[in-house]
Amino acid sequence: MAASFGVSSAAAANAVKSPALSPPSLPVIRSEARPISCRVNKSRKAGKITTKAVAAQAENPASAASKPGHEVLLFEALREGLEEEMERDPRVCIFGEDVGHYGGSYKVSKGLADKYGDLRVLDTPIAENSFIGMAVGAAMTGLRPVVEGMNMGFLLLAFNQISDNCGMLHYTSGGQFTIPTVIRGPGGVGRQLGAEHSQRLESYFQSIPGIQMVACSTPYNAKGLMKAAIRSENPVVLFEHVLLYNLKERIPDEEYVVSLEEAEMVRPGEHVTILTYSRMRYHVMQAAKTLVNKGYDPEVIDIRSLKPFDLYTIGNSIKKTHKVLIVEECMRTGGIGASLTAAINENFNDYLDAPIVCLSSQDVPTPYAGTLEEVTVVQPGQIVTAVEQLCR
């Protein structure tokens, strides 16, 4: 019996050289810093990314028609990605509560049950641990399930399956079984949803070996990450944010995926590196406007890949600015920011002119009252102050 399970170094190298495990014709969007050129939407990468958190104003119909691409809301972008992948591969299926007939609690799977049937878009009973375990079993036997946590917080009930089975089975089986599942859902602090519906699970999951975690923040990267996650042979947790589903953006008509492991350059700059993800990206960009008016030039990077970190994009930025500010919605203790701080200190200590500043949410169960909720998360004012202090 030949022990042919492992990934030989040659295979790994080859796997890396081809940009994606998808058909070669599909462009994989890489950030500008990397040598491989991206063929779609180069203009986006040059910094013309929308900095507005709210939907764009209605445009002149004539000019809208002449622009390439189509406008979508973020949840529609997610759905497009899902639908394209389901069309492409009949093994892709959806599990979750109310994903079928109801169309998903945030309408991400709206219409898909009508199109693909009740088995491909499976309405599950309320049993997170078990239906995530079911997704693992289905993935091991050949399907590619996309599982929705109606709210990411509910996935705490599935921690057993996500940690032990999703993350570990590829390893404990000696590489025999792959678990190509995507676990996704809305998380983050919303508008007075109460403590349990306002959780950030990225900090709890980040230590699980064997999973990847990504957070989407724009319709463009939402669709790209959804597709990339579905195509990945690894189990991927895709974090969406409750308050970002109605963001509007123009996205390409052509098919595209984005890299799961790369960070996104939002705004190049010289003075300070601001690392952020998900909703805080918009607080950061709001603060950036104020900072620019005050004469600062912040470089804003949406890290997107929460596990693993893109140390290349992050490192290049630090080598340029020598100052780092992390802005996250995670709690302070054991959060993504904590890990990122450690990783930066380990890898780029020589390049830092000042200690890393990390702005996180307060380690507090998110209160219901609006005034209190507002001060549990990082606000743009705090970001401005932090940059001013850092750049003094």
């Binding site: 049993a127 057993n160 390893y171």
Partner: protein, 438 residues
């Protein structure tokens, strides 16, 4: 209580809903309700008397049990080669069953030896005494059917066809093990033979089994493939108090998944008696509560188990949905090789020792002239040699080298991310050496 065809039982156990027999059981169970909080020894005795009462009652009343004459009649039509018209198996089948059970027993005995000699480590859970369940069910499966087990998974893997060499190597932690030495005793996996684990936390495997059954249904109904694969989920009495068990009973019945839930009720969850932890200890009853048949069978009798298994697996293959089968069985050894096994009543152990499934099958084969002493001795010798060979193979196999450490963490090693130099970290030679810090 050996492998006699109990012709008194007249109803197909799986068509019968338990409501009829429930009354019979309730009247039996008045003898010993679980209300007492006395020590396990006392309760154990009471349980045994309840179970005897149950089997007495069943023989008298024809309530839910293991063998149904419908099935027996079916077999009579099918197996034309069996000389006696009331035999349950042919000679060939008998030898297969015997060989498989003996393989399981001999392998586990060898594991105990090897453990005490320091060749295998950690938590090792042996299956001695329960062989009838594994053999009775798994020998009816095709290679494409899936088996999911718990930490007591060596014998399930062997019955399913995983070579003894691979299992023994895995236990020794060698690269030639079925999981390259990365899983160990509690994590036996085989893609080739569709053994989906090997799980350390009880209950954890049941959703995985449910998912595998879902794939089978999906292949048939969505992908329009010709697929009638079934999945068997094995687990114990302790697991039947766990949420995942109930959640999966619900989903499997709801979607009529091709799965059989096989409860190996050996009465003990480490040191916790089933009666002390379960409000209603009759696990088979929990099936109908979720809309599937629940069957109770004597798990020390491989022929009875096989009869029930045939029907349950047949149901699943035909798309009629899941079945819950409770096998009354017993483990002759402690929970694991680290368990001093002091809580169980020696009298209880002695009683079950007289019901050793291998001895019982032997007796049946002899009494019905299906095999003689010499033939069985030949099987024993063959198996002993296989076991010896597996130990030699495992001993001679290499231990995993350092460079195996980081393989298989991700199916796609790009999951380790991009390093400061811009290359994927898995391109770093330290990765193939296994010395990189992840």
């Amino acid at each position: 209580m050996a492998c006699s065809a109990t012709a008194k039982i007249i109803h197909n156990p799986l068509v019968l809903s338990s409501s009829r027999s429930a009354e019979k059981y309730e009247s039996c169970c008045k003898i010993s309700g679980p209300s007492s909080l006395l020590g396990s020894k006392f309760l154990g005795k009471k349980l045994l008397s309840a179970k005897s009462a149950i089997s007495l009652a069943s023989r008298r009343s024809g309530a839910v049990v293991a063998v149904s004459s419908d099935v027996v009649k079916e077999k009579k039509v099918k197996s034309g080669s069996s000389a006696a018209s009331n035999l349950l198996i042919t000679k060939e089948e008998g030898l297969v069953l015997y060989e498989d059970m003996y393989l399981g027993r001999a392998f586990e005995d060898m594991c105990a030896q090897m453990y005490y000699r320091g060749k295998m480590f950690g938590f090792v859970h042996l299956y001695n005494g329960q062989e009838a369940v594994s053999t009775g069910f798994i020998k009816l499966l095709k290679q494409e059917d899936c088996v999911v087990s718990t930490y007591r998974d060596h014998v399930h893997s062997l019955s399913k066809g995983v070579p003894a060499r691979q299992v023994m190597s895995e236990l020794f932690g060698k690269t030639t093990g079925c999981c390259r030495g990365q899983g160990g005793s509690m994590h036996m996996f085989s893609k080739e033979h569709n053994v989906l684990g090997g799980f350390a936390f009880i209950g954890e495997g049941i959703p995985v089994a449910t998912g595998a059954a879902f794939t089978s249904k999906y292949k048939r109904e969505v992908l329009k493939e010709d697929c009638d694969e079934v999945t068997l989920a094995f687990f114990g009495d302790g697991t039947c108090n766990n949420g995942q068990f109930f959640e999966c009973l619900n989903m499997a019945a709801l979607w009529k998944l091709p799965i059989v839930f096989v409860v190996e009720n050996n009465l003990w969850a480490i040191g916790m008696s089933h009666l002390r932890s379960t409000s209603d200890p009759q696990i088979w009853k929990k099936g109908p509560a979720f809309g599937m048949p629940g069957v109770h069978v004597d798990g020390m009798d491989v022929l009875k188990v096989r009869e029930v298994a045939q029907e349950a697996i047949g149901r699943a293959r035909r798309g009629e949905g899941p079945t819950l089968v409770e096998c009354e069985t017993y483990r002759f050894r402690g929970h694991s090789l680290a368990d001093p096994d002091e809580l169980r009543d020696p009298a209880e152990k002695a009683r079950y020792a007289t019901r050793d499934p291998i001895t019982a099958l032997k007796k049946y084969l002899f009494e019905n002239n299906l095999a003689n002493e010499a033939e069985l001795k030949a099987v024993d010798k063959k198996i002993d040699e296989i076991i010896e060979d597996s130990v030699e193979f495992a001993d001679a196999s290499p231990v995993p080298a350092r460079n195996q450490l980081l393989e298989n963490v991700f199916a796609d090693p790009r999951g380790f991310g991009i390093g400061p130099d811009g290359k994927y970290r898995c391109e770093d030679p330290k990765f193939t050496e296994g010395t990189a810090q992840v």
